[in-house]
């Protein structure tokens, strides 16, 4: 029941928070924080389970026997790390909004917790019908978060978000049913269970279409070009908490879906489409970076920068080697934390400048709010991939891992990594240096904000300098996913620094 509780606790917590808001706003906030702390404890508890590549914990409850759907949950290294980041970033979202959100507090925290519940459902579900259920479900509270607590243009952004997601979700539902039908007809066992379906291989002519269905939904979720239409608006016009949730872990469900479902089941079909998708990934990288460069709105810049990183993630997933997948894992975590931190900073800046997000109207912030500016510089440097930050480890691993199967694209991606450096530093130049234009007399960070961002920076540095814990947690499960069937030698002994260091030698391209 532990895993089911991971999903039920935020559901009940959300209701409790809404009820608590009737009593007082602070009680509501503390209830939410309490729920999230409880969840973190549960999660850390799970980390102690045996991690050999199979499920670390699994459970199943009957649901709709007529169709073969059950409430099946399971967790392995990959999903556990993603679950952990989701819970932690939800906590960040709540803490960031502590002083800034005071309308309909109950509903706000309710939606945050219910989004988390949906996302946890996605990461933990091993029944494809349940997976879809959670996949669609997490979108609705997110829609409300964007539409009701976002800025003036948030209504249209929220609608675009939900239309893209639900439409692509329906295509995935058809693909799920198609897989269910094919498997049922071939084996006589009509089931949605992941273990059964993941082992199923078929040459049926519909199989490429099924892969396309799954891929389409995840490509919209990540997103990658050309399915990214919803992303800049949604990330920009959402409230700070919303942007943190969206960029921090909601987009990661797309990457998770690709690694969990598309890579194992549709290996063959994916191989034929790899050149096309790899090109799209590289285009996304350049597109995101170039457009970030052109932005004046600071949140929109961060949104496009996030898009660029997702192109990189897609490249790593496509390569499918153990190292690139390890890199993807680290990138998902590191990118999540750094983008969440950047959005948090942007939100704090926006409250201080009373709504100005246009960097051309800022300037000279460094003198006024030095602590803020320093932390911002650190985060921006980590985001562009400075060694010592998490993004660097991720990028190195992905580049080295992808060079083997996708050499040309990897070189293009490498070139593309120059642009983030440019726009990131230009962000600092425009907003923080020079003479103040319209932003005057700003107050620096208070203790709560300093602690929050400081903690995020520490986590990012830890990922960057000591990535082995993460790599070790994800390694066994990733080894099962990677395209090359030969397991890396490091796993026969105990996992050690081989996985983090000695990178060019431990895998043969």
């Amino acid at each position: 029941m532990t895993l089911a509780w991971l999903i039920l606790i935020p559901l009940f917590g959300g209701l409790a928070a809404w009820l608590a808001s009737v009593v007082s706003a602070n009680l509501c906030r503390w209830t939410t924080v309490g729920t999230l702390v409880l969840l973190t404890a549960q999660c850390l508890n799970l980390l102690t389970e045996e991690n050999t590549g199979a499920w670390m914990a699994a459970e199943s409850h009957p649901w709709i026997p007529q169709i073969g759907a059950n409430l099946s949950f399971a967790v392995d290294g990959i999903s556990l790390l993603l679950v952990l980041i989701s819970i932690l970033l939800s906590l960040v979202a709540v803490l960031v909004s502590w002083k800034t959100v005071d309308t309909r507090i109950g509903a706000f925290h309710f939606n945050i917790l219910w989004v988390l519940s949906g996302v946890l459902g996605v990461f933990l579900a091993t029944d494809l019908f349940l997976f879809f259920f959670a996949y669609e479900l997490m979108v609705i509270p997110m829609y409300f978060l964007i539409a009701f607590w976002g800025d003036r243009k948030a209504g249209a952004a929220a609608t675009k978000f939900i239309l893209y997601t639900q439409a692509s979700g329906l295509v995935m539902l058809a693909a799920i049913f198609g897989l269910y039908a094919l498997h049922g007809k071939a084996t006589g066992d009509y089931t949605f269970a992941y273990d059964a379906l993941a082992a199923f291989r078929t040459d049926h002519p519909m199989a490429p279409w099924l892969m396309a269905g799954f891929f389409f939904a995840f490509a919209v979720k990540l997103p990658i070009f050309p399915f990214h239409g919803w992303q800049p608006d949604a990330y920009t016009h959402a409230p700070t908490a919303g942007s943190i949730i969206l960029a921090g872990f909601l987009g990661k469900t797309g990457a998770y879906g690709l690694v969990r479902f598309v890579l194992p089941i549709f290996e063959q079909q994916l191989a034929t489409l790899t050149p096309l998708i790899a090109t799209l990934a590289v285009i996304t990288l350049f597109y995101g970076a170039m457009l970030a460069f052109a932005q004046r709105d600071i949140k929109r810049l961060i949104a496009y920068s996030s898009l660029g990183h997702m192109g990189f993630v897609m490249l790593g997933i496509l390569a499918g080697t153990f190292q690139s997948l390890q890199g993807v894992m680290v990138m998902l975590l590191s990118h999540g934390f750094v983008t969440a931190a950047l959005f948090a900073m942007a939100g704090m800046l926006e409250t201080r400048t009373r709504g100005i997000r246009d960097m051309e109207r800022m300037g000279g912030l460094w003198k006024q709010i030095p602590v803020f500016s320093t932390l911002m510089l650190v985060l921006v440097l980590i985001s562009l991939g400075i060694p010592g930050g998490g993004n660097f480890v991720a990028e190195i691993l992905i580049l080295i891992g992808s060079f083997g199967p996708l050499a040309g694209w990897t070189i293009a991606a490498l070139v593309g990594l120059i642009v983030p450096a440019v726009y990131s530093l230009w962000l600092i130049q425009r907003a923080f240096h020079g003479q103040p234009r319209e932003t005057h007399a700003l107050t620096d960070l208070d203790a709560r904000e300093k602690t929050l961002i400081g903690a995020l920076v520490v986590v990012l540095l830890w990922i960057g300098l000591f990535p082995s814990t993460i790599l070790q947690t994800g390694a066994p499960a990733l080894a099962l996913v990677e395209a090359d069937p030969v397991p890396p030698p490091a796993l026969t002994a105990e996992p050690g620094p081989l996985l983090a260091g000695d990178l060019p030698d431990s895998r043969h391209p």
């Binding site: 169709i67 539409a147 439409a167």
Partner: protein, 477 residues
């Protein structure tokens, strides 16, 4: 007719008898609450008789009716919906200043017709029950006759329904003339004897029948009446039209297709597929332009009948289960959507435009939440009954490889999501003055709305018992 026949027919007869009792009572005492009470008592009694009839097996009453598990499930669904609609109507009619009680007589008669339709297995009973269902609706639609739109809607419905009934009758006559029998099951037997009949005549007859059925189910291109009638009728009547009227016709059509072997007529099935695609598309596309929520719900009901047709066309055990389950989910969802409008009406005025509903959720949080939930269910969002219904239909379509139908379902569902969201966003808008000041929501209506909402959630989370029931019921067909 012996005792067991009588027991089987009781669920159908009781609403009819109740209407007569009510008519007599009205002659002496005019009281809205009393009339509501008698109606509810009659419907509940019919439900009790239903439970009794369910214990015995399938009963063929003469050649006209077959009261089996399938018809009992539909009769049960109809009675439950009628109870909720009675509650909704009762609440919204408190402020009416002319005769209110006759409405329930009409409602009971139409319900009796719908129940009879679910059990009919003969052309004669089909037509009689259909007319018994339709004629009271003419009056129900035009009930608030002082509003121009209601009167217009009533007359429009009268003319068009009568015309479609004529088509239906002509089609049935052609088939009878060719095959010599009117009983559904015997039609199949007659058609087995090759060269004894002209297939072209049977096909023509079937096509004409399809026109009549297409009208009742508001399938494209027989759907033109729907938005006007839904707008003109009051919300409880709209609920009745959307749920009971359509559900009964679907039940009898399903029985007709299965028992008479119409599924084997390739021409007919192709025509039905084309109609399904057109219905799904036009239903959703035309709804995009609507600013009146009742018209929008009308177009939405067109689209939903299109989705249901996908499972209908697949047929067989799986298809029939999917159709029935879809109707269950569609019933509760529609009752929630129409119910939300019904509970907010005052006298003859109803908040049915986007403008009138703007910001409604802020003044009535619970009603707004329930309406939002119903809209999400119509859109097919998980956690609601509407999602599982649509998933069932989609799975049936995929399992039987109907690519075009499935593709159309997906695309049109995606289109549909947009206008439902617009309604939801409008409910929570910040800058609105209430068009119709409403302080208190009638208790009866609130109860009905609550039941509809809870059932939508329950079916959306745990459909297993209902699915078992449907499976047992359909197996007997």
């Amino acid at each position: 007719m012996n005792a067991s026949d009588f027991q089987a027919l009781l669920p159908i007869l009781v609403p009819g008898i109740t209407s007569l009792v009510l008519l007599l009572v009205i002659a002496f005492f005019r009281n809205n609450r009393l009339a509501t009470g008698i109606t509810l008592a009659g419907l509940a009694l019919a439900g009790y008789c239903l439970a009794q009839a369910a214990d015995s097996g399938a009963v063929a009453v003469g050649i006209l009716f077959t009261v089996d598990g399938f018809s009992l499930v539909f009769i049960g669904l109809t009675l439950a919906a009628a109870i909720l609609i009675t509650l909704l109507a009762s609440g919204s009619m408190e402020d009416l200043d002319f005769n209110r009680e006759e409405f329930y007589v009409l409602l009971l008669l139409a319900t009796c017709g719908a129940c009879a339709l679910a059990a009919s297995s003969h052309f004669v009973s089909l037509f009689l029950a259909l007319e018994l269902l339709t004629v009271p609706i003419y009056a129900m639609v035009a009930y608030r006759y002082r509003r121009e739109e209601s009167l217009e809607a009533g007359v429009k419905y009268l003319v068009l329904a009568a015309l479609s009934s004529a088509f239906l009758l002509f089609g049935m006559a052609l088939i009878y003339g060719e095959l010599g029998t009117m009983r559904f099951s015997e039609l199949l037997v007659e058609m087995m004897v090759v060269d004894a009949y002209r297939p072209a005549m049977v096909l023509t007859g079937s096509a004409l029948m399809l026109v009549g059925i297409g009208f009742k189910l508001s399938l494209v291109p027989f759907h033109m009446w729907t938005p006007d009638i839904y707008q003109g009728a009051s919300a409880p009547v709209g609920a009745f039209l959307a749920t009971i009227s359509k559900g009964a016709v679907v039940a009898v059509t399903l029985r007709f297709f299965i028992e008479s072997g119409a599924y084997h007529q390739a021409g007919l099935m192709t025509a039905l597929s084309v109609i399904a695609v057109a219905t799904m598309f036009f239903g959703n596309l035309l709804a995009l332009l609507q600013t009146n929520v009742k018209r929008l719900l009308g177009y939405s009901s067109i689209a939903h009948m299109g989705y249901m047709l996908v499972a209908f066309i697949v047929g067989g055990l799986r298809g029939s289960e999917a159709v029935t389950f879809y109707l269950f989910t569609y019933f509760v969802t529609s009752l929630g959507a129409f119910g939300a409008i019904a509970v907010l009406s005052r006298g003859e005025e109803e908040p049915d435009t986007q403008v009138a509903l703007r910001g409604m959720a802020r003044r009535h949080p619970m009603v707004g939440a329930l309406m939002t939930f119903s809209m999400l269910s119509l859109a097919g969002v998980p956690l609601t009954a509407g999602f599982l219904g649509k998933a069932w239909v989609l799975s049936t379509g995929v399992l039987f490889n109907t690519k075009i139908l499935v593709g159309t379902l997906i695309v049109s569902s995606a289109i549909g999501l947009y206008y439902y969201l617009r309604v939801i966003l409008n409910l929570y808008a910040r800058d609105a003055e209430p068009a119709i000041p409403v302080e208190r929501v009638p208790l009866a209506g609130a109860v009905a709305l609550g039941v509809a909402g809870v059932t939508t959630l329950w079916l959306g989370l745990y459909p297993t018992p209902v699915l078992e029931l449907i499976r047992l019921a359909v197996a007997g067909l």
